[in-house]
């Protein structure tokens, strides 16, 4: 029977970052399992924007630290290609007095944490994105170091770096059960093999709840489908990511010219559906036609869906648990890609029992024991 020091469930961006960070700290015999092929889940389906403009201190810190990593990821991971980190900024539109006031608070918080966000007037925003419909917003916030990364290349960079450090990957290995002995992790059983281990990381993204259930933990997360589309290539017309929480849109042109955009569906069911719907296309088209009429002239070539894994406060769970040897990195609420670098660093500290950064305690799953005290993130699409 195979033996592993640790088994990481899920080879998405979180699992990759955790595997890489553990291996870098010298851990041997790391096994990563995935139920499908490489990049079949949410990582490959995501919008891949990376931003620091958040409304909670915790999310701001996680984002800032992750962007520090992304900005030198090619060199750090010794990647032979380029992760295509385009720092064109995020322009977030406000559409009401109330939102203006909230954004003023957000900018103050972000600035206090070293994030260079600015609150812009309508004219200043129009200078950055001249195609904006001036009647569709009131003010905007802009952070020039936010941006966009190619999620496939970023994942490959982590994968190759982890592999070079000895991490073993097994694809098409679906975890079916995790066996406990005396309350401790003993064995992971997949549809293809069994692995003896005392440590398991749940980085299963949309399926994190199910993996938690295998050791009797009810992780307070659910999954829902978020749809997205991509257009044909167009000449450069959109430098930053344009986003609005109230209008429910994010929209970004990637370096080779295609424009990607998505929105959430308030009526989405809590399940594992990742299909595409005409309703999404209809609402997305209306929204983008209102905010960015020039962008709306582009032809759509593809739509798809991916799973958000959502916590009650829209902030991730990065923690150990009351089952010895079972660690959790899930519930990113749509932002797992952009938080991946810090996820790997923090969970590695937790697993190795190293002293934790002060803010990391707030990522523990125990915070949901008292739901009245949670600090809820509102800046979400």
């Amino acid at each position: 029977m195979n033996r592993a020091e640790i088994v990481i469930v899920g080879a998405g961006i979180s699992g990759l970052s955790i595997a890489y960070n553990l291996a870098k700290k010298g851990m041997k015999n790391i096994v990563v399992l995935d139920k499908s092929h490489f990049l079949a889940g949410a990582t490959a389906r995501c919008g891949a924007g990376v931003r620091q403009q958040w409304a909670t201190e915790l999310n701001c810190i996680l984002a800032r630290k992750s962007i520090e990593f992304f900005s030198h990821a090619n060199e750090t991971l010794n990647y032979h290609r380029d992760i295509e980190f385009k720092q064109g900024g995020y322009l977030i539109l406000s559409t009401s007095k109330e939102e203006d006031i909230q954004f003023e608070k957000n900018v103050k918080l972000q600035n206090s944490l070293g994030i260079p966000t600015k609150h812009l007037t309508k004219d200043e925003a129009l200078k950055i994105v001249p195609h904006l419909n001036p009647d569709s917003f009131t003010t905007a916030t802009f952070c020039e170091t936010d941006g966009h990364i190619n999620p496939f290349l970023m994942s490959e960079a982590y994968y190759l770096a982890a592999q070079k450090l000895g991490v073993e990957f097994h694809f098409f290995n679906e975890v079916e059960d995790i066996v406990l002995e005396d309350g401790k992790i003993a064995k992971v059983i997949t549809d293809k093999m069994e692995i003896q281990t005392n440590k398991v990381v749940d980085a299963a993204g949309g399926y994190a709840q199910e993996i938690g259930g295998m050791v009797g933990i009810d992780i307070p997360v659910y999954s829902e489908n978020h749809e997205i589309l991509v257009t044909e290539r167009a000449t450069q017309m959109l430098e930053p990511m344009v986003m609005s929480f109230s209008k429910n849109i994010y929209c970004q042109q990637v370096p080779h010219g295609s424009i990607m955009m998505g929105r959430n569906n308030p009526n989405a069911l809590h399940n594992h559906d990742v299909s595409s719907s005409w309703r999404f296309l209809d609402k997305m088209a209306k929204t983008v036609n209102h905010i960015l009429p020039e962008v709306a002239k582009q032809r759509v070539i593809r739509t798809w869906g991916g799973l958000y894994n959502i916590t009650p406060d829209f902030q991730p769970i990065i923690s150990d648990s009351n089952v010895k040897g079972f660690y959790i990195a899930c519930g990113y609420s749509g932002h797992g890609f952009m938080f991946a670098p810090i996820t790997g660093e923090l969970l590695t500290e937790i697993i190795l029992g190293e002293p934790l950064e002060y803010y990391a305690k707030a990522l523990h799953m125990d915070r949901f024991n008292d739901m009245d005290k949670i600090d809820k993130e509102h800046s979400v699409v």
Binding site: E232, R233, A234, T235, H256, Q298, R299
Partner: protein
């Protein structure tokens, strides 16, 4: 290059249509698509592949593949294989015409 005689089809190439391709004047016939008229004028290199910038020509000719996209009268991404030629059309491709193979 144009089929002039065909066992069962008749071609009636009477009404000339004048257009420009990359600023060069060219002539096609009524009923031609832009792509067909370009082909008749000896143009084979329609676009470049995304990553390696290799030449791409008229390929599927039914609007699916994307190889024939050009800018027509200022509009990007026009499917020249499916768009009928009109008088005074200004057709622009972004290819390096000297690099044909």
């Amino acid at each position: 290059m144009r089929v002039k005689e065909h066992p069962i089809l008749n071609f009636n190439h009477q009404n000339e249509i004048h257009f420009t391709y990359n600023e060069k004047p060219m002539v096609g016939y009524e009923g031609d698509t832009i792509g067909a008229a370009l082909y008749d004028n000896g143009i084979r290199h329609f676009s470049d592949s995304v990553v390696h910038k290799r030449p791409r020509g008229l390929y599927c000719a039914i609007g699916n593949c994307g190889s024939c996209y050009m800018q027509v009268n200022g509009v990007e991404n026009v499917k020249t294989c499916m768009t009928l030629l009109e008088d005074d059309m200004r057709v622009i491709s972004e290819v390096d015409e000297d690099k044909d193979d």
